[in-house]
C-alpha cells in the first residue's frame, strides 16, 4: 500500500466576509501534512484560526481556497452525502461543550453516528456498551447526559467519536470546560487512544501543560502555522530526523512517504512503549479492548 499522509492541507485559506468592505482573513495559505498515528496539537492565541482550520479538516466548512486531502481524497470533490459519510465514519469529533444530545441516554448518544449510518440497533448498542467500558463509564449505561459530570460527559463524547472506528479523532479544546482533574482524565484518554493504535489525533488546546505529550506542535499565529515543533520528549531523535526529513521532502510528494513512513510509525510504537507512564492503569486496560476493535487501521 502506497503510504500517503492521512491529512494533507494545501494552501488552505479562509476569509470571512463580514460586510461589503470588511473581511476577516482567518487563515493565510496554510499547508502541512499529518501522518497516520500522530498526535498533533494546534497551539496558539485566541483567534489565530485554530478552530477554523480544524473545521475545514473535518469537512464542516469549505476553505475559501486551497485543498484538504484526506487519504488521497480531496474533500472538495465529495458530494453533500459523501461529506456526511466522511464526518460520520472517517472522523471522530470531540467538542469543547461535549455536545451530547440531551433527549438520548448515554448509550444512544454514543451509538448515534452508527445510527446515522443505518446500523442495526442491537449491533450499535453492543458496540456502544463496549466503548462505555473503554472510557471507564461502564456503570452509566442508563444515565442521561444531564446526570453526568462534565468530565463524564466528555468521556461519553469521546466514546461517541470512536463508535465508527474513524481514522482521525479531532478535538477542539476538549478540556476547555473541565476542572483540572477531569481535564487530565480526558487528556489521558485521548493520548492513550493515540498511543495504542495508529489512530491519528488532532487536538486544539490552550493548556501548555499538555504539549509535552504530543508528537508535533503546530504553533499558529494570525492565521498561519508559524512553526512545527517535534516534541523532543515524546519523540526520539530518530523521529525528529524522520519528521524533518519528511518536511524537507514535502516538495517532492511522490517519493516522500513510501520509505519514511515505516520508520516514522515504528518509532511511534517505540515511543508508545516508553510512554507507558503517561497512561494510567485504566487507559492501559482499555487499550487491549480497543485494539481488538481496530480491525481497519
Amino acid at each position: 500500500m502506497a503510504k500517503t499522509p492521512v491529512i494533507k492541507a494545501i494552501n488552505l485559506s479562509k476569509t470571512f466576509k463580514l460586510s461589503k468592505d470588511n473581511e476577516v482573513i482567518a487563515l493565510h495559505s496554510v499547508s502541512f501534512e499529518i501522518y497516520s498515528g500522530e498526535l498533533i496539537c494546534f497551539f496558539g492565541p485566541s483567534g489565530c484560526g485554530k478552530s477554523t482550520l480544524l473545521s475545514m479538516l473535518a469537512g464542516l466548512q469549505p476553505p475559501t481556497s486551497g485543498e484538504v486531502i484526506v487519504r488521497g481524497k480531496n474533500l472538495a470533490t465529495l458530494k453533500k452525502k459523501e461529506l456526511a459519510e466522511y464526518r460520520r465514519s472517517k472522523i471522530g469529533m470531540v467538542f469543547q461543550q461535549f455536545n451530547l444530545i440531551i433527549s438520548m441516554n448515554v448509550l444512544e448518544n454514543i451509538a448515534l453516528p452508527m445510527a446515522f449510518g443505518g446500523m442495526k440497533r442491537k449491533r450499535r448498542m453492543q458496540r456502544a456498551e463496549h466503548l462505555l467500558e473503554v472510557v471507564d463509564l461502564g456503570d452509566k449505561k442508563k444515565s442521561v447526559p444531564a446526570n453526568l459530570s462534565g468530565g463524564q460527559q466528555q468521556r461519553i463524547a469521546i466514546a461517541r467519536s470512536l463508535i465508527n472506528n474513524p481514522w482521525i479523532i479531532m478535538a477542539d479544546e476538549p478540556t476547555g470546560n473541565l476542572d483540572s482533574k477531569s481535564a487530565d482524565d480526558v487528556m489521558k484518554l485521548l493520548i492513550s487512544l493515540s498511543r495504542k493504535s495508529k489512530r491519528t489525533v488532532i487536538l486544539i488546546t490552550h493548556n501548555p501543560d499538555y504539549l509535552q505529550y504530543v508528537d508535533r506542535i503546530f504553533r499558529m499565529k494570525d492565521g498561519r502555522v508559524d512553526k512545527i515543533e517535534v516534541n523532543a520528549k515524546t519523540a526520539k531523535v530518530e523521529l525528529i530526523d524522520a519528521v524533518s526529513k519528511l518536511d524537507k521532502l514535502k516538495s517532492d510528494k511522490e517519493e516522500a512517504s513510501e520509505e519514511d513512513e515505516p520508520i516514522f510509525t515504528s518509532e511511534i510504537s517505540k515511543i508508545e512503549a516508553e510512554k507507558k507512564e503517561v497512561m494510567s492503569g485504566k487507559a492501559g486496560k482499555s487499550k487491549e479492548k480497543e485494539e481488538k476493535n481496530n480491525e481497519t487501521d
Binding site: 469529533m93 467538542f95 448515534l112 445510527a115 446515522f116
Partner: protein, 385 residues
Amino acid sequence: MKLIDIFRIAAGNLKRNRLRTVLTVSGVVVGVGAIVFLVSLGFGLQKLALDKIVRLEALKVITVTSGSKTESQLNAGIAEEFEKISGVSAVSPITRNIVSFKIGNTETEQVVYGVKPEFLDMENLKISTGQAFSSKDAKNEMIISKEILTNFGLNQDSILGKDIDYTYAISGGENKGTLKVVGLFDEKGVYAPFDAISGNNESYASVKVKVADKVNVPEVKKTIESMGYNTSVIQDQSAAVNQVFSIINIVLGGFGMIAFFVAAIGIFNTMTISLLERTHEIGVMKAIGGNSKDIAMIFITESALIGFLGGIFGLSVGWLLGGLLNLLVNFMATESGGEAVSLFAIPLVFGILTIFFSFLVSTVAGIWPARRAAKLNPLEALRYE
C-alpha cells in the same frame, strides 16, 4: 438512517417537550374532533332523512298528479289507462274530500283521503295504535291521525273500534255512512277505503301507480309524463336529499376545517420554535455524520406524529361527543314519547380519511421547518453558547 431510528428520535423529542406536544396535539384534537362531530351530525341527519323516505315498496310507486292542461284530469278512465302501461302492477286513485264526522253532539270536519287499503303502505304511514285496514276489501273502516283525537273529544283507547257517522257533499247531494276507527298514526289526516268514501268522485287528487319491478320505474314514469301528467317518485327525493346533505356536510366540515386549520398553524409554530431551540443540537448531529435527509426526516416525522395522534384522539373525541349527545337526545325523545333516533353517524371510510387527512396536513406543516433544519450549518456544533 433506518426509519425506525428516525421514529425513535422523533418520539424522543416529542416526549422531551411533553407539555408543548400535548398542547399542539390538543389543537389537532379540537380541529379533528370538530370536523368529525359536525360531519357525523350531517351524516346522521342524512341517514335519518333517507331512512324516512326510502322504503323498498315505496320506491316502486309513482305518484301522478294532474298536469297543467285542463284535459289532463285524473279520473277513472285515466286510471284504467295507467293500468295498461306495461310494467304497471297496480293503480290506486286517491281522493280528497272534506268530510264532516259526528259523534254524539260533537261534529268536526276533516280532510279524508280515500285510498285502496293495499296501497296504504305507499303512504308511508306507521300505525302506532291499533291496526291498518283489516282486509283489502274493507269498506267501513278508517284510520286517523292522533292529532285529531281531541276534535272527536275522545282518547286513544275509547276511539278504537268506534263507529262514527259521516257525511260529505257530492255533486247534487251528499254521501252518508259510518266508519269504524281501526288504527291511529302520527302523521296528519284521515284515511278511509277508496270504495267507501269516493264512489262518486269524478276527479282524483292523485293516482298511485305501482310498478312491478323497480328498474321499470323511470320508463313508466316517462310514459305517464308523455300523457301530460306530472309525476314524482321517491327516488327523486332521496337524490335531492343526498344533494342537500352533501352541501350541509361541506358547510359543517368547513366549520371544522377552520378549527383544523388553526391547529395546523399550531403545528407549524411548534415545529418552527423547536427548530430554533434545536439549532445547536442539529448542528451537532450534522457534525457527527447525520445527513440532511435524516435531519429533515426527523422533523417531518415529529409533525406527522403530532397529526397522527391528534387524528386518532380527535376522531375518538368527536365520536364520543356525538354518542353522548345522541344518548341525551334519545333520552329526552323517549321521555316525551318519541322515537329513539341516531343523530350521529360516522362512516368507517370517513373516520379513516380524517386520520389520514390530519396526518397528511401535519406532515405538510412540518415540511418548511424540516427543510430549514436540513440546511442548518454543521458549524453550529462549534458555536459556543
